[in-house]
């Protein structure tokens, strides 16, 4: 199913799009509610003063107890509510790993399908001006390893709104990774409360013939600018944004690789065991005969994110390093 076309739009930032999705879903469904630390204050804005619009009982500021409120969300989810919890920084998900990995992800299966876990965990990840090693991580790949968790990685306001609405309506636990550096990105966003972006459907942001660039979350816009600059040199790159990593739109990915014969993956998480590793293995197994050369992975260095701006800049991929990798991929495998 294609995303619903909507006539009316509004120019919104990413955080405003998230806010609108939350507000609309709470208005549509009384079982949706929000929990998290300081969410009424809202450090990045998505839930700022939302309790004034939807009611005090729907937006709960919690104590600093990630295990407790994520666990409580699991408890609420299996008994008929649709909690959306915020982990202030994605890095703090490590504090409540048991609740995410052993509880939320497992309950449906372990109970033979007796209960569903309609829970959304919103978590801003990624680097943002010297936030250092415990406030900068992209942990998507870590959770891709755990069956039972769906994973959204919206790269812009429209997807942020549309995917979050799908995530809230979904009956499984969804990890919804927002990117801190995207919060102030803006575009026209559909205002129809029924507008959604379905999970498991990639977006082809730019068509191309020579190489497929599979870029995730905060890296999408850098990949697009890399592709634009390569176009001036006669290299035609197709940019794919998966939008959700679980479920993954294999069809779109494989169709593109079959056309271009080359694949570059781009992510802000670390290289080893990253999203690109999984995508690379998948494409190698399923489209081997179409590949003209090895899959190239562009990712952050295998190290904690440093504080110093000079070091931080050298740690993650940029439009320049992406362009260089794509160029090499094409030129080496003519």
């Amino acid at each position: 199913m294609a995303e619903t076309m909507a006539a009316e739009t509004e120019f919104l930032t990413y955080f405003q799009a998230v806010r609108l999705a939350l507000k609309e879903e709470m208005e549509l469904d009384p079982s949706v509610f929000l929990m998290g630390e300081d969410i009424r204050f809202s450090i990045f804005g998505p839930t700022k003063d939302l309790h004034l619009e939807v009611g005090e009982s729907r937006v709960l500021d919690t104590p600093i107890t990630e295990s407790a409120f994520v666990g409580a969300a699991v408890g609420a989810a299996i008994t008929g509510m649709r909690p959306v919890v915020e982990i202030m920084f994605a890095d703090f998900m490590t504090v409540c790993m048991d609740q995410i990995i052993n509880q939320a992800a497992k309950i449906r299966f372990m109970t033979g399908g007796q209960v569903k876990v309609p829970l959304v965990i919103r978590a801003p990840g990624g680097m943002l001006t010297s936030s250092a090693a415990q406030h900068s991580q992209c942990l998507e790949a870590l959770f891709m390893h755990i069956p039972g968790l769906k994973i959204c990685v919206p790269s812009g306001p429209v997807d942020a709104k549309g995917l979050l609405k799908s995530a809230i309506r979904d009956d499984d636990p969804v990890l919804f990774f927002e990117h801190k550096a995207l919060y102030f990105a803006s575009e026209e966003v559909p205002t129809d409360p029924q507008f959604t972006v379905p999970m498991g459907q990639a977006a082809v942001l730019r068509e191309g013939e020579d190489v497929t660039v599979f870029a995730v979350s905060g890296m999408v816009s850098s990949a697009v600018s890399a592709a634009n600059s390569l176009a001036r040199d006669g290299i035609s790159a197709e940019v794919i944004d998966p939008r959700t990593l679980v479920p993954l739109d294999k069809q779109a990915l494989l169709a593109s690789v079959r056309k271009t014969g080359r694949l570059v993956t781009v992510e802000e998480g670390c290289l080893t065991g990253g999203v690109g590793a999984e995508i690379s293995a998948l494409v190698t197994a399923e489209a081997w005969s179409d590949l003209k050369g090895p899959v190239v992975r562009v990712a952050a260095k295998d190290q904690p994110v440093p504080f110093s701006p000079v070091l931080e800049a050298a740690c993650a991929p940029t439009a320049q390093t992406i362009a260089a990798a794509v160029r090499e991929c094409v030129e080496k495998n003519r």
Partner: protein
């Protein structure tokens, strides 16, 4: 009972004034973009807690710090020049520019790390205390944490472990009444966090954290108890954070009336008054300390400014102890 000698009083005053001077400079730097990052948490207004607690410690004792850690480290004896260099992300900084404000650590003065994960230190400190005991030293570990952190599971787990094993730890709760934007009454049902000590059969004490002498006396008692095998103590110091949660926080969750009461809690002014009234020090002497501190901070800023940027090539060698893998 320790004496309030002139020397001790001067030391407490100097420590508090250094923390204040350092952090007011950092605040100015944060506003003008002269330090990177937006998560700079200052302890202006809270100076009496680290000053009083660390004055009760020996050089080889440990402290485990929080995201609001500048004051802890200064009070434990760290150099302000290397601290300022760290805040500017420079190679001469204590963490070679890799940590920054939130992770500022100086092991040479017994600092075991500032932490970006609220509550993490509450289980690390008992480990340092266990290590001291296993290595046969009589070192003590102090764990600083906030009222917000006292709700994490690690608080209960750490206190339970330390109490069960009678570890030489002093848990110091800097209760500034807020966890970020959340007032204490909205994040816990009790007013006095020290009451939780009862659940672990350890002493729980609440002191006026504006009064450095009161903090020092209570900390001295708890440290001595820990050192002599008596086990852990939960020491709560009520205090007041003057700035926002971090420097980019517009702090609109606290009313103007509430903010107007902050100066009345000023621990530095309080000690100044007591020094003069009780003849512990003279106005001239305090004035001299202030100008010494101001010169030190100016030198620290110049040092940080002139220091080299770190090199990305060196990062790889820092990930593992054996260098590059």
């Amino acid at each position: 009972m320790p004496e309030f000698s002139e020397e001790l009083v001067i030391r407490l005053y100097k420590t508090m004034y250094t923390i204040r001077g350092f952090e007011e400079k950092v605040s100015e730097y944060a506003r003008t973009g002269m330090v990177p990052g937006f998560m700079i948490h200052l302890s202006v207004g809270q100076e009496a807690v680290p000053a009083g607690v660390c004055a009760a410690l020996r050089e080889d004792d440990y402290i485990v710090s929080t995201h609001r850690g500048h004051g802890h480290l200064i009070a434990k004896g760290a150099r302000t020049d290397r601290m300022m260099a760290e805040l500017k992300g420079k190679e001469a900084g204590y963490c070679r520019g890799r940590g920054g404000s939130m992770h500022i650590t100086s092991v040479e003065v017994g600092g075991l790390g500032a932490n970006g994960i609220v509550g993490a230190g509450l289980v690390i400190a008992p480990g340092a205390a266990l290590s001291a005991r296993m290595r046969g030293t009589d070192q003590v570990a102090v764990c600083f944490f906030g009222d917000g952190a006292s709700n994490q599971g690690t608080f209960h787990e750490g206190l339970n472990l330390a109490a069960t094993w009678k570890l030489p730890v002093v848990f110091v709760c800097e209760n500034n009444g807020y966890g970020f934007s959340t007032p204490q009454r909205a994040h816990q049902s009790i007013g006095r966090i020290s009451r939780r000590a009862e659940a672990y059969e350890m002493p729980g004490i609440t002191v006026n954290g504006d009064d450095v002498m009161e903090v020092f006396l209570a900390a001295s008692w708890a440290v001595e108890r820990a050192r002599s095998g008596g086990g852990p103590t939960l020491l709560e110091a009520t205090t007041c954070r003057w700035h926002g949660h971090f420097e980019d926080d517009d702090d609109d969750y606290r009313s103007a009336e509430e903010k107007a009461t902050f100066p009345a809690h000023d621990p530095i002014a309080l000690l100044e008054r007591r020094c003069i009234e009780e003849g512990l020090s003279s106005t001239a002497q305090l004035e001299r300390i202030r100008s010494e501190v101001e010169e030190e901070i100016a030198r620290a800023c110049a040092f940080a400014e002139e220091s080299e940027e770190p090199s990305p090539e060196d990062d790889a060698g820092l990930v593992f102890a054996g260098g590059e893998r």
